[in-house]
């Protein structure tokens, strides 16, 4: 239960980190918050030749908001997001989801880019990225490229980075003022990984029908997934509980995780429909309240 031997380096510029990653390729792993990588090292599930610690790179620790994009540097701590009013205002779904990431002790160290790069299908931040069509910014020896979240998560703990690339930032679209959001997670214990979690962002038209909706799920497949059938069924539909409950049943079809130690496949399908129903209803209620507040002011 101790890390294996490795060579350690701690570049203080992004250029130096990229050069090191290019030099060592797959033999090097990036150490960000360490809340996933350190357990993997301690349990000898990972044995990199070189560890590149990026905690000292200040360029990765910025949060920048423009009119329509919130860019969060890869090295920004999850607990910093949790207490950042600017982030809550720009992307409310992040504010709802981040408290569900592990425990506070994990969020004090864990980073936004680390969770994204780790690409765990049960993790909250990858799910939010997929739900909101965020863009993952990666940098390698040949420069920077932007990867849509739906293309970034490629399989169980697998991302689209080339061997010489690292995640440098995540760009979330700023949420429209009238959009409502909901995040519902079921885990065995406080802080455990999600058995199933649903992230929803919804907008209503003047008649109170759902005009746009995004529904993402974590914990039910190798990667975070969108419940597109639920989205299609609810777009243009009334936002009443019966309609939402019926549409949420379609979420069972995206569950591909089989029976495991934590839940049977059948139970996960049940949970998927339940968390989707609750998250959609929460998002609709939030959108209704925002509409009322907006028209009152």
């Amino acid at each position: 239960m101790k890390p294996p031997r490795f060579l350690y380096c701690d570049p203080d510029t992004l250029d130096a980190a990229v050069a090191l990653k290019a030099q060592h390729g797959f033999d090097a792993l990036m150490l960000a918050g360490g809340q996933s990588l350190m357990p993997m090292l301690n349990m000898r599930l990972a044995s990199p030749g070189v560890l590149i610690d990026i905690n000292g790179i200040t360029d990765l620790q910025r949060v920048v908001r423009t009119d329509d994009v919130l860019e969060i540097g890869a090295g920004v701590r999850q607990s910093a997001i949790e207490s950042d009013e600017q982030v809550h205002a720009a992307v409310p779904l992040l504010a709802r989801a981040v408290p569900h990431i592990g425990h506070v002790e994990n969020r004090h160290r864990g980073t936004v880019g680390g969770s994204i790069a780790h690409a765990d299908g049960a993790a909250e931040l990858p799910c939010i990225a997929v739900t909101l069509d965020a863009v993952i910014v990666v940098r390698g020896a040949s420069g920077e490229r932007e990867i849509p979240a739906k293309d970034f998560f490629q399989g169980f703990l697998s991302n689209a980075c080339a061997p010489d690339e690292l995640v440098v930032a995540v760009r979330f679209p700023v949420t429209p003022a009238a959009a409502g959001t909901g995040f519902v997670e079921v885990a065995r214990r406080e802080g455990d990984f999600a058995l199933a979690a649903a992230a929803v962002q919804a907008e209503l038209d003047e008649q109170g029908r759902i005009s746009r909706i995004a529904v993402g799920l974590a914990g039910v497949a190798a990667t975070p997934v969108r419940a597109t059938a639920v989205e299609d069924r609810l777009t243009g539909a009334a936002a009443d509980p019966d309609t939402v409950a019926a549409a949420a049943q379609l979420a069972a079809d995206v569950v591909t995780t089989g029976d495991d130690l934590h839940a049977t496949a059948a139970y996960r399908k049940h949970l998927a429909t339940t968390v989707v129903m609750r998250a959609v209803l929460a998002a609709v209620a939030d959108a209704e309240q925002r509409t009322q507040n907006g028209s009152a002011s």
Binding site: M1, K2, P3, P4, R5, F6, L7, Y8, C9, D10, P11, D12, T13, D15, A16, A19, L20, Q23, L31, G34, Q35, M38, P39, N42, M43, V50, L51, D53, N55, G56, S79, G102, H103, V104, E105, N106, H108, R109, R189, E190, G191
Partner: protein
């Protein structure tokens, strides 16, 4: 740390950090965890290793005032930071810190294995002086497992410590 284009990758490193208010300089193997460094190099054996993969929370220390799992950090990563273990509160059994008094009064420990972590977490929780419900306290300490399952008295101790520090005006 100096800026270089391509810093050398090494398996040992000399680090300077503050531990319980004292500046410490040591040469460490880069694979040494902060938990092992505190226990083996500095004899701070209040840092308890239960699972060594970030599940039990018994190795919790305060890093710049924030609770972190010291088994999930390398010692080398603590360079330039302030680390606090429970040894910093009081080593004098006749003059305990209010949080220690509260834990004793509420019988908030059975085997004691999780206690240093719980005490440090308590220190962090009550530092803001806010009154919390028992339910909130339970959520706040959920990252540390007590295998005696003596949570009720730990919750009581956190509330007790919170009251003590509020009434005395002492900073936790």
């Amino acid at each position: 740390m100096t800026t270089t284009e391509n810093p050398a990758a090494t398996d040992t490193r000399t680090i300077t950090l503050r531990v319980n208010g004292r500046e410490i300089t040591r040469t460490v193997s880069t694979r040494t965890t902060l938990a092992d460094f505190l226990r083996d190099d500095l004899d701070l054996v209040s840092v308890h290793l239960g699972c060594e993969h970030g599940v039990c929370g018994c190795c919790t220390v305060l890093l710049d005032g924030q609770s972190v799992r010291s088994c999930l950090m390398l010692a080398v990563q603590a360079r330039g930071h302030e680390v606090e273990t429970v040894e910093s509160l009081s080593a004098d059994q006749t003059n305990l810190h209010p949080i220690q008094e509260a834990f004793a009064e509420e019988h908030a420990l059975q085997c004691g294995f999780c206690t240093p972590a719980m005490v440090l977490r308590c220190k962090e929780i009550i530092a803001d002086g806010r009154t919390r419900t028992d339910e909130e306290v339970r959520r706040e300490i959920s990252g540390i497992l007590c295998r005696c399952t003596g949570y009720q008295n730990i919750v009581n101790a956190v509330q007790n410590a919170s009251r003590r520090c509020a009434s005395t005006g002492q900073e936790a």
